[in-house]
Every structure is written in structure tokens, then in C-alpha cells.
Symmetry: C2
Subunit: 137 residues, 2 copies
DNA sequence: ATATTTGCAAACGTTTTGCATAGTG
DNA sequence: CACTATGCAAAACGTTTGCAAATAT
């Protein structure tokens, strides 16, 4: 597990490794997909941890600010994941299921071009495909 | 202007061409970029139209449901545009400026592949690049 | 011991809804 | 006239904040 690297990183910045923080990182690391605050809360409930919802938000803000997790906003809800293998998402417009997909590193070159053209520092991108899944079409 | 095609489309579905609806379509068509409810309301004010905010939301819902406009949610706010030339977005994480960019139709093939692989009907995709603009980096 | 993290309650901004009224075709 | 669109007020929803108490180092 490279969660240890994350813990070290947090300690270096003066952060503390609390029960809740540790579990949130573990959950995000193991799932390796986009999770909402509710998804995370539900998983914590299964582990007999019942933190306040604002704690989850604050935690996810902390992890985002420290570049440990990446945030994606999909129809008014924030989702979070730890960027491990780089991938994209397939989202059903009806049942809102999010499927993780891999289309390779096609966009690296585009990023470089755009950075030059617009004098931007590009840190990341998000690519979502929308449509109707097997069951909903 | 191909807004006439849009009006026809709306009439066919039993919709009516009201002052506000007409102006919203014109604004979205002329701007050809992502606009929020507030952006649209401000533009309407300049034209001496003062509709209720809920009317804007209902209107944008109507136009989205009828596939006339496309919705993108960026950091918890919905933005809308009429898909004319296909393009993507460059978003500054600090000042939140949205720049329209064109990288060509790279993703058409990927869409087809994914549709087959996951048995999906893909209707569209959104690609956003995040980073820091010229002024904010 | 001290700074960080947490729970709670309240505030905030965006979006949705119910219902009566106005406007379009 | 019949049906759609609108204004208004209130509610819903996700998210943020202030403060006091708890906890990690």
C-alpha cells in the first residue's frame, strides 16, 4: 500500500493521522473510483464510524488542497478519487452510474499545445462521456 | 441565424415562443460559450427584461431536456451552451475564467469504441482542462 | 502543551417545487 | 379556449462556517 507515502506527506505538512482521516484515505485508495461525500459516509458507517458530514467535507477539502485527492463535480455533486492509474468516466444520464474507463494517454500532447497557446499551466483534465447505459437505453 | 430551426423544433413539441425564451436562445446562440444562470440574467437585464430566477432555471431545464442546450457543471454551478462548433474548455482554478478551446474531433473514435465495449449509447462528452491562467500562475 | 481535528448548529448559494396568474397559439 | 410559461414564496440540496470541545503529536 502506498498510503504510507500519503501519511508521511500529511505529517510533513503538520497534519495528523486521525482514525477518520486514515479510513477515508483507505476507502478512496481501495475503491479507486469517484466517491461522493455520501458514498464515503456510508462506507464509514459499515466500519462503525459515524463522523459528522461536515467533517467529511472538511477532510475532502484538506485532501484536495494537499493534492492527495482530485475533485470532479458532476451535476451539482462533488466526487473524489485518489489519482492512481489515469482514467476517465462514462456517466449514465438516467441512473447516474459512473463507470471508470481507460482510453490511454491521448491528451498529453493536447495539454502541451494548449499550455503554450494560452500561456497556461495545466495541472490536470477531466474527460466524461455521457449517454445511456445498457439498462437505461 | 439557425435559431429559426430551434423555434420550429420547440413549436413541434408544443412549446411556445415567448419573449424570454426567445431572448435566452438568442443570447446563448450569439455568445457561443458557457453561461451560468446569473450570466444570462445579467444579459437579460441589459435588454430591459427582468424575469424571475426560477424562470431562467425552468427555461434552461426545458432547453436541456429538448437537447437544444448542453449543460456542464463546473464547481457546483451549472453552465449552459448551444453546441455549435464542437469545442472544449480551459478553466483557471484561481480566477475561474472559462476559455473555449478547439482540439479537433479526436474523441469520436474513442466514443465509438467505448459504446461497443460497454454497450452504451453515448450522446456527448465533456473535456475540461484545469490549471492556472496567464495572470494567476 | 499546543496545534489540529471534530461535532454541532446555523448560514449560504444554487436549484427545485407548488400554486395562482398571465400569456401564447 | 386550452394549455404552456411565469412570478412568487418556500423548500430542498450540497456545501461552508464559527465556535467550543476533543484529540494527536
Amino acid at each position: 500500500m502506498d498510503t504510507d507515502i500519503i501519511y508521511k506527506n500529511i505529517r510533513l505538512r503538520g497534519g495528523r493521522i486521525t482514525k477518520i482521516r486514515k479510513k477515508i484515505i483507505q476507502i478512496l485508495s481501495e475503491m479507486n473510483c469517484l466517491l461522493s461525500h455520501t458514498d464515503i459516509l456510508k462506507r464509514l458507517h459499515k466500519l462503525k464510524l459515524y463522523p459528522n458530514r461536515s467533517t467529511i467535507f472538511r477532510e475532502l477539502l484538506f485532501l484536495t488542497k494537499n493534492s492527495i485527492v482530485m475533485k470532479s463535480t458532476i451535476s451539482n455533486t462533488d466526487y473524489f478519487e485518489i489519482p492512481q492509474d489515469h482514467h476517465h468516466h462514462l456517466i449514465c444520464l438516467k441512473c447516474h452510474t459512473i463507470t471508470t474507463v481507460d482510453i490511454g494517454n491521448h491528451l498529453q500532447n493536447q495539454e502541451k499545445k494548449l499550455a503554450k497557446q494560452f500561456n497556461y499551466t495545466i495541472t490536470n483534465h477531466s474527460l466524461e462521456f455521457y449517454g445511456y447505459c445498457h439498462y437505461c437505453q
